[in-house]
């Protein structure tokens, strides 16, 4: 293996992080999906908060990413949360009016609905955020490829993931060039938004060029040939992870079925 290969492999499985980081990517993905779906189908407050407090938070603490996770999910969900709360508090019909703002009545029912949406949103965003913070995206794609995802699809996914940092860098460079020629992107929000438009074309264009070059580079190495290929790298996966995933899946199926059939009564 060359030095570059060693560095590459180390990047896929960084040495420092926790045992949670070292879980198989597929296990972490399944946990995030199961937690999110369960939070939504169980509904109420207790269910989603229990998932949040007993599953997501301890895992995040174990992975040592608690603070970052809170910050990331607050930033990501705040805009949605605010609009959901405003809309449901003030537009949901209800009998008991709590208070009035202008022409809008805030009802108990509206506040309750907003609260329920909010706890689901918190559970969803932290569950998915935890996956994102503890998983190298390319490791996830590699693992899926190992599990039978088509190499072409895996390539498309990896190319997209890898194009993102390059795209952000390119956007920064172009923005500097455009500002230096009088495009105002620093002022009021309106200026900033207007400044984004001239960016889109060039950034997309240069990314397309890059992906095209990469595709050509792969073509000349017989990427398009049929048949299985070998990965030069084994994914971390403890022996108990596969059973754990089945358990997660089974629990999820039971919860969904119980809620759909009404066998499980709604809890507050």
């Amino acid at each position: 293996m060359s030095e570059a290969d060693v560095a590459f492999l180390q990047r896929l499985a960084p040495p420092t992080p926790s045992s949670y980081h070292r879980l198989n990517p597929f296990t972490k993905a399944l946990a995030a999906v199961a937690e999110s779906i369960a939070a939504f189908v169980i509904g109420g407050y207790v269910g989603p908060l229990a998932i949040f407090g007993l599953a997501v938070l301890p895992a995040a603490a174990m992975a040592g990413v608690l603070r970052r996770l809170v910050r990331v999910s607050v930033v990501l969900t705040l805009p949605i949360a605010i609009s959901v709360v405003l809309i449901s508090v003030f537009t949901r019909a209800g009998s008991t009016v709590l208070f009035t703002v202008g022409p809008f009545d805030a009802t108990v029912e509206g506040v309750d609905f907003a609260g329920q949406v909010l706890v689901r949103l918190i559970t969803l965003s932290t569950a998915i955020g935890l996956f994102g913070l503890t998983t190298e995206p390319r490791a996830f794609v590699f693992d899926l490829e190992r599990r039978g995802l088509s190499p072409q699809l895996a390539f498309a996914a990896t190319a997209t993931l890898e194009a993102i940092p390059a795209m952000l860098e390119r956007a920064k460079v172009i923005q500097a060039a455009q500002r230096a020629r009088g495009l105002d992107t620093e002022g009021r929000i309106a200026d900033r938004l207007r400044g984004v438009l001239p960016l889109v074309g060039p950034v997309v264009l240069s990314s397309l060029t890059e992906v095209e070059e990469r595709t050509l580079a792969l073509e000349v190495r017989a990427f398009g040939r049929r048949g299985r290929r070998h990965l030069l790298w084994t994914m971390p996966e403890a022996t108990w992870e596969a059973p754990l995933r089945w358990v997660l899946l089974a629990v999820l199926v039971v919860i969904v079925a119980a809620r759909l059939t009404g066998a499980w009564p709604a809890i507050p």
Binding site: A177, Q178, R179, G182, E186, G187
Partner: protein, 270 residues
Amino acid sequence: MTAIALAGLVHVYPEGTRALDGVDLEIPAGQRLAIIGQNGSGKTTLVRHLNGLLRPTEGRVLLDGRDIRSLRVAHLARQVGLVFQNPDRQIFAGRVRAEVAFGPRNMGVRGAELDRVVGDALTAVGLAGQADTNPYDLGYSRRKLLALASILAMRTPVVVLDEPTTGQDARGVARVQAIVAALTAEGRTVIAISHDMEFVAEQFPRVVVMRDGRIVDDGPPGAVFAPERVGLLASTGLVPPPAARIGARLGLGATPTEHALLAALRTHRR
């Protein structure tokens, strides 16, 4: 017209490189000034402060006596046109014409006037026939000239050129020289970073020498490239232009340009 002053300018990049370490410099309006110095001495970092693309860690940048701290890049771009060192970090449009029109359009130029400034700038750099070409189909030296044209079209009172002759053949260098001369004739300030000592000595009445984020010498080419200062210049990893070296070897004193060398030879023979 715009006078430039830098006072105690320090710039530390986020990851810790102290690229500018206390720079004081005054450039009167209409002056033509060259900045020389080894790679990494801070030349690019210095000029990127003139239009606010970089902001001082310490110290001030003044345009016409006014601190530019609170002014936006887009606003400063009307006064200081900066041609980037690397054209590929400056060019973004899909057509040569659109690239050149971008700056003046942002400054409110429209219609026939816009066509005229774009046409003039392209003609000045010799790309008038390529207006509809994709910039990436041009070679490196022509992309550099396109980057120059896109700044010329903005007709700013200050024009900064970051290594304009790099990658140019003799004709390209001659074009750049003609452009610099024309800008000066219009009373505009021209600041050029260059490794081409001949270009510097022939074209610039004032030369600023940088080393490790500081200005270590500042004067006319005759002084900066004088035999007495060869040691100082060498400490920055630079050598004087050929004419100056020959003059020094022959004991003719300071002969920064071919012209000066010939004149000194003539006087000497008499």
